[in-house]
């Protein structure tokens, strides 16, 4: 009996998560809040969003975001609040700036380079085929002979 209690405790215990209860007076605000905390990065454990992180700072920042949204301000205001203090780093989706242009345009540049390379390669191949010397009379006769023999 006791062993089963322990097993149940382990199995169901895994589902326990640190979730604060946040009361919103408007479901739209709740949606905005939930979107935001998923999109914003926790500074302490950098590969987690504010929503995922259990760090003390993440909790404080969630509270700040909650207060901003609950007071009726927009999502942009909440994002601005954090970017003003922590820089673009808090955004998982960084804005397009000169310093981030490589990040945004780099993959397309690589794709373009690849396509150009592929095009050049294809061109070279087809050009190479055209330049193949024509068969001499003797060769043609031999080819004819071989074909005949193969087709039986």
């Amino acid at each position: 009996m006791r062993i089963w209690l322990i097993i149940c405790g382990i199995v169901f215990g895994l589902n326990v998560q640190a979730v604060e209860i946040r009361q919103f007076d408007d479901p739209a605000k709740q949606q905005a809040y939930e979107n935001l905390v998923k999109e914003l990065r926790c500074l302490v454990c950098q590969n987690q969003s504010l929503a995922d992180s259990d760090a003390d700072l993440a909790r404080d920042l969630r509270t700040e975001v909650y207060n901003i949204i609950q007071s009726g301000k927009s999502e942009q205001d909440a994002v601005k609040f954090l970017v003003d203090r922590y820089g673009d780093f808090v955004l998982y989706k960084p804005p397009l700036k000169i310093s981030t242009s490589l990040l945004w345009l780099g993959p397309f540049g690589l794709l373009l380079t690849g396509l150009v390379y592929l095009g050049l390669l294809a061109r070279k191949r087809s050009a190479g085929r055209k330049n193949e010397p024509a068969l001499t009379e003797e060769e043609r006769l031999r080819l004819h002979e071989l074909k005949k023999r193969l087709e039986g």
């Binding site: 003390d56 003003d84 203090r85 922590y86 820089g87 780093f89």
Partner: protein, 178 residues
């Protein structure tokens, strides 16, 4: 020449990786560099009836060191701060971040107090306004009250000699506020 292509690609990749190795992901560039200090006005740690704010930071080059009694790296940094305080190069102000007043006072009494003044940020709101994400953090503030540098993590002898001290000396030479 063709066989050089993979070699060149390899060298380029190694170059990127080498740069990546040297970058510290914990060093998040502070958006405050070159901007006036965020406004704050907090009770002092030693005396809750007295306040200290960003206006008090004007007039001379200073350090603002964010610390807490619960912070392990702060303890590591502490002896160096004490040493710097003795050298009297510039005032070091402390921001006791998300701490308890008694624990903070106890820490200073036991280990020594390098701070000209420490302010007490119980709920960490001022810390957030300063973009604090990992204590200890140290800001260099110039005579005009503009943040000029941020050091994340404990100050080491090396970072002091190489970065902080030269910057401080240079800022002290700059003209006084008009």
């Amino acid at each position: 020449m063709r066989f050089l292509i993979p070699l060149i690609l390899f060298i380029v990749m190694v170059g990127f990786l080498a740069v990546g190795l040297k970058l510290d992901p914990r060093e998040v560039p502070s958006p405050f560099i070159g901007k006036p200090t965020p406004a704050f006005n907090l009770p002092q740690l030693a005396d809750p009836n007295k306040n200290f704010g960003n206006a008090d930071l004007r007039g001379q080059v200073s350090l603002l060191n964010v610390w807490a009694s619960w912070c392990v790296s702060c303890r590591q940094e502490h002896p160096l701060l004490l040493k710097l305080a003795k050298q009297n190069i510039l005032p070091i102000y402390g921001l006791d971040y998300k701490d308890e007043r008694e624990a903070g006072m106890d820490w200073l009494n036991r280990l020594g107090n390098p701070y000209t003044v420490s302010v007490f940020d119980a709920d960490g709101k001022v810390g957030i306004d300063w973009g604090v994400y990992g204590v200890p953090e140290t800001f260099v503030i110039d005579k005009q009250g503009v943040v000029r540098h941020k050091h994340t993590g404990p100050i080491t002898e090396e970072s002091w000699q190489k970065t902080l001290l030269p910057l401080i000396l240079q800022l002290q030479k700059e003209g006084s506020p008009t």
